[in-house]
């Protein structure tokens, strides 16, 4: 049977939902190349060099920032001896959607395309890997997977995402219809847009896309770990909190050559979200935290923090130092952690509440293991809250959506370049159609008919 020339596809190959482990599968001519780009074997070997049907331990690493995403087992199968009959790489990842989606996103970003439902099976069939008797079964798989992915898609589109996308699409369609109407009916009176108006229209499309992508930052955080910095006076209990969290939730700790660390970093796994905890170790022994915070590195790590845990000691009052530290971090998502509730309360509750009313305040005792669950929940709340804050009430969580939005944004940027270069309107329509195509891939609708309908509903045209 003739083998069809195909591109490289990838998908999560295990059922949705949480489980012990999960599988990300890449299939196609570039599977091994793509896998190799993001996999660092413990043995130091490159996937491109390994033999077929061998498994390799290692880490999925984001090559751009050299950051570990998950600890995995990579299996390479060289064509035709694979399920699809093509080159295949499978990553056995930690279960849960977060690591799986993160790995998948990296695979997509490095050159694979999201597989359609049943596409692996289809390729297997096309490449003669499955005999005729199984063909009907595959069709059933495609049908059921389509139904399932449809229900999943509907699920994903809940919470107003669909409306948001529709709104952006509508603005894009309106602009496109306007340009098209004046192109196709040059003899009718259609008021053209000047450059300023066009820029405004494009901005109206660009901003909500960017807004949605900002919510997708959460996905990025999943991938890179949420940088959480613990600050506080000496002996306030930072290291004991860290150690406690670690012993309970120690996550993958990477040791990738080339990364150097000047502050102590540890990973914990909080409900599937990797937290990269940065202990401002360097300042622990210092007399003057503020002075030490002035030290560039610490200041930097604070600046980059996604979340700050500011620890206070219940047995001591608020000091000048505490307030100065707070000044540095108050614009960050911050949780006030008041430790040592097992001791007498010296701290002024009213002053605390007044001073820190913007931030959640938690009472814990690491020693007596109290309030820690609440702390974890608050951390999760804060992360999620931060990412759906501002004007966005909808969050992008799926790789597919993020991917589509990123592509839409690329098209927006191309459109802006075309505008800046004073390109003729026909060229603007090319980018606009791209934008609509990518947005449409989220909601699953095509736009060609929309445009024609829109042209005639918005404009009075014709002889």
């Amino acid at each position: 049977m003739n083998k069809m020339k195909e591109d490289t596809i990838a998908a999560i190959a295990t059922p949705y939902g949480t489980s012990g482990t999960g599988k990300v599968r890449i299939s196609g001519p570039n599977a091994i190349k793509i896998g190799s780009k993001i996999f660092q074997a413990s043995s130091g070997k490159k996937l491109l060099q390994v033999e077929s049907h061998t498994a390799h331990h290692g880490y999925i690493v984001n090559p751009e920032i050299n950051n570990a995403v998950d600890e995995v087992l990579a299996i390479v199968m060289i064509q035709p001896r694979s399920f699809t009959g093509e080159d295949v790489v499978e990553f056995d990842c930690h279960g849960g959607m977060v690591p799986l989606e993160s790995v998948l996103e990296l695979v997509i970003n490095n050159g694979a395309r999201m597989a359609e439902p049943g596409e692996f099976s289809k390729r297997a069939f096309m490449n003669g890997k499955i005999d005729m008797a199984q063909a009907e079964a595959i069709i059933e798989v495609i049908n059921s997977k389509t139904a399932k992915s449809l229900s999943i898609a509907i699920e994903q589109l809940k919470g107003g995402l669909s409306e948001k996308i529709e709104k952006i699409k509508d603005d894009a369609v309106e602009l496109l219809a306007h340009l098209e109407a004046s192109i196709d009916f040059p003899e009718d009176e259609i008021e053209g847009f000047d450059s300023t108006q066009l820029h405004q229209r494009v901005k109206k499309i660009e901003e909500p896309i960017k807004g949605l992508l900002k919510t997708a930052k959460q996905g990025k955080l999943y991938q890179e770990g949420i940088k959480t910095v613990i600050v506080g006076k000496p002996n306030v209990g930072k290291s004991s909190l860290l150690n406690y969290l670690l012993q309970e939730n120690r996550a993958i700790v990477t040791d990738i050559p080339g990364t150097t660390r000047d502050v102590i970093e540890e990973y914990i796994n909080l409900d599937g979200i990797p937290l990269k905890i940065i202990d401002t170790a360097g300042v622990r022994e210092s007399e003057d935290i503020v002075e030490k915070i002035g030290v560039k590195k610490t200041r930097n790590s604070l600046k980059k923090a996604d979340l700050v845990l500011m620890m206070l000691d219940v047995s001591q009052g608020l000091t000048e130092e505490d307030l100065k530290v707070y000044e540095l971090i108050k614009n960050k998502p911050t949780i006030l952690v008041i430790n040592k509730t097992d001791l007498d309360q010296e701290i002024d509750l009213k002053q605390l509440q007044k001073k820190f009313k913007e931030h959640p305040l938690l009472w814990i005792s690491v020693k007596e293991e109290q309030g820690i669950e609440e702390l974890k929940n608050t951390i999760l709340d804060e992360i999620l809250h931060e990412n759906i804050s501002s004007d966005q009430d909808v969050m992008i969580t799926k790789v597919r959506h993020r991917n589509a939005l990123q592509n839409a944004l690329k098209a927006v940027n191309s459109l802006k370049r075309a505008l800046d270069n004073d390109m003729a309107h026909d060229f603007l329509t090319i980018d606009l159609k791209d934008i609509l195509f990518h947005l449409g891939s989220i909601t699953g609708e095509t736009v060609t008919e929309d445009i024609v309908d829109r042209i005639f509903s918005d404009f009075c045209l014709g002889k």
Binding site: M1, A135, T146, P186, E187, T448, C460
Partner: protein, 638 residues
């Protein structure tokens, strides 16, 4: 002698034709000429010989999309472009500031001259018999077309028949409260042919279109209007010499609130709102009453006066298409600046007609049910002379090819507007008279009017529709383009003080390192002739070649983007679905998809994927079924 039991006729015509074309409008003329030029014996039947290639609506051809089609017809060896160049009285290029892909040629025709020249071309074509005959009955045996019986009872036998009846099928003209059975311009309608089409199993529908009043030149005050002149040095055909005659002007004026008031006051007398009109009208060709009612906020509508020809004083009042009662048409005209004293010579009217559902056709324009029966033009649910001619050409070619037992010509969506047109008609059908617009083409930048010859002339030549002489001229042009492009790619400009000074003069960015000429030409501010400064070796080529080279260089990035998209989809377009496929066997395919596929019978997976209601998953399933069938077949052979 063969016997056709159920058909009544007086006599069988002495000669059996290869192809009969019913109708000699824009579709019919192309459908007759192409096969005749391919060596076929053709009979062209028309209700009225004085209306060959008649323009019942506005006296113009072209515009964005439509002008593209005319150039494609030319590249494929059709007649429309040449006929226009020979007879037109004005030409302009529209949309010149909106990008090369959407430049649109638009010409003012002299209706009489256009008709007379085309008629002469048909008369002089030795392989065509042009006859004034009214076709009434299609003779079909075992789902195969056998011939046509005329109103006068003569049975003309033929291997293939192309129907191009335009708006004649059960034509009904409506002017206000007055209605009467007629074809366009009050010609004799074709009433019986409709029933014949129904009897052989084709689905008919009713569409509507309309036309504005014609007024007398001496009653128009042009001094109050804006004049629009023609331009020099452009032609429709790639092979015509530029127009060397005085061009005639068109004039612009506008409706106003008074006009709109009169229409509103007489709303109940308009057939469109009183319910007399049942047919579906085109949205892009709304009547003035439709425009006023649907867009009440619009303060004025544009009116465009077009001369109907040089030998007549009739002017076509474009923008005022209407089925209002004639007395109201007078009142409306009197409110318009410059038309206060306008004398109506022919009132505007709406016309309803029967047409086919293009879903009943194959991409070759042959009907799915009747072997050898083709249809083209307005009967297929389109509107416009250009759309009709494009289909006529393809139907004629394919009728001829099928006689020669050859595969039909099916132009791809990435190849021609004609391809887009036929694909959409056949695959998606149409709910209103279909008009081509450039926004319907997804690869618009590839389908430019300037490169129609580069896209299609090879095909025209292979079919025998482009003469050796024209083809050689084309090859020379193609070579010159290639040579010039390669020179631009290879020649390097170095940043000498002189060169830098020149670029400064041109308001262009400074040169830091040597660059190729092509790269300089990419800069928006630099034109081909500016490059001569950098080298005297720059090919001295014609304006057309400069234009072609400039477009291909300046917009290379965008062009390549669309080419990549075409390439991506090619797999689907090239994968043909076996003709004998039985969709009923595909029990596991969704019922909706199965039924749609069964109805449309797509030719390729690409076409199948464009059917509304067929999802990508259905396509996957279809693909698997096809593979399965094919390997079963192979196994069987082994």
């Amino acid at each position: 002698m063969e016997k056709y039991d159920n058909y009544i006729y007086n006599k069988i015509f002495k000669k059996e034709y290869d192809i009969i074309v019913i109708g000699a409008g824009h579709a019919g003329c192309e459908a007759s000429l192409a096969p005749a030029r391919m060596g076929m014996d053709v009979l062209t039947m028309t209700v009225n010989l004085d209306h060959v290639a008649f323009m019942p609506c506005n006296p113009s051809i072209g515009g964005p999309g439509k002008g593209h089609i005319v150039r494609e017809i030319d590249a494929l060896g059709g007649e429309m472009a040449v006929n226009m160049d020979e007879t037109m009285i004005q030409i302009r290029m529209l949309n010149t500031a909106k990008g090369p892909a959407v430049h649109g040629l638009r010409g003012q025709a002299d209706k009489k001259k256009y008709h007379l020249r085309m008629k002469k071309i048909l008369e002089e074509e030795t392989n065509i018999d042009l006859k004034q005959e009214i076709a009434e009955v299609l003779v079909v045996k075992n789902n195969k077309i056998k011939g046509v019986i005329s109103k006068t009872g003569i049975l003309f036998k033929a291997k293939k028949v192309v129907i191009t009846t335009g708006t004649f099928l059960k034509g009904k003209v409506i002017i206000g409260e007055a209605t009467f059975n007629a074809g366009p311009n009050q010609q004799y309608p074709a009433n019986k042919l409709s029933s014949s089409l129904r009897e052989i199993g084709l689905n008919l529908r009713r569409f509507k279109t309309g036309t504005p009043p014609r007024i007398n030149k001496r009653s128009i005050d042009f001094s109050k209007m804006q004049e629009q002149k023609g331009e020099n040095d452009i032609t429709f055909s790639f092979d015509s010499s530029p127009l060397k005659r005085d061009q005639v002007s068109c004039y612009l004026t506008y409706t106003n609130q008074k006009t709109h008031q009169i229409i509103q006051d007489n709303k109940m007398r308009t057939p469109l709102f009183s319910g007399v009109i049942e047919g579906v009208g085109p949205r892009y060709c709304p009547s003035i009453e439709d425009k006023v009612v649907r867009f009440p906020e619009k303060e004025r509508h544009q009116i465009f006066l077009e001369p109907e020809g040089e030998l007549t004083g009739e002017y076509y009042v474009s923008g005022l298409s209407t089925s209002l009662p004639e007395d109201v048409q007078y009142d409306v005209l009197q409110t318009i600046t410059g038309l206060e004293n306008a004398e109506i010579m022919r009132p505007g009217y709406a016309i309803e007609y029967d047409c086919l559902n293009p879903n009943d056709l194959k991409l070759s324009l042959e009907t799915k049910n009747i072997n050898g029966l083709f249809s083209a033009g307005q009967i297929n649910g389109t509107s416009g002379y250009e759309e009709a001619a494009g289909q006529g050409l393809i139907a004629g070619i394919n009728a001829a090819l099928s006689i020669k037992n050859k595969e039909p010509i099916i132009l791809k969506r990435s190849e021609a507007y004609i391809g887009v047109l036929i694909d959409e008609l056949v695959t998606k059908g149409t709910q209103e008279p279909y008009r081509m617009m450039t926004s319907r083409a997804e690869y618009r930048l590839i389908l430019r009017q300037d490169n129609a010859d580069l896209r299609l002339k090879e095909i025209g030549y292979r079919l025998g529709l482009i003469s050796e002489k024209r083809y050689q001229k084309f090859i020379e042009k193609k070579n010159a383009i290639e040579k010039t492009l390669s020179f631009l790619r290879d020649f390097q400009v170095t940043p000498t003080p002189k060169n830098r000074e020149k670029l400064k003069d041109l308001d262009s960015g400074a040169l830091k390192k040597p660059v190729k000429l092509a790269k300089l030409l990419k800069r928006p501010e630099i034109e081909y002739d500016d490059l001569r400064f950098f080298t005297s070796k720059l090919p001295d080529v014609s304006k057309v070649i400069k234009e072609q080279v400039t477009i291909q260089t300046k917009y290379k990035g965008y062009i390549n983007r669309q080419k990549a998209q075409i390439e991506q989809f090619k797999r689907m377009e090239d994968r043909l679905i076996p003709k004998q496929i039985n969709y009923d066997e595909f029990e596991n395919m969704r019922l909706e998809a199965r039924e749609k596929l069964k109805k449309i019978q797509p030719r390729s997976l690409g076409q199948a994927s464009r059917i509304s209601g067929v999802s990508p998953a259905d396509i996957s399933v279809l693909m698997i079924y096809i593979e399965q069938k094919e390997s079963e077949k192979k196994d069987g052979e082994n």
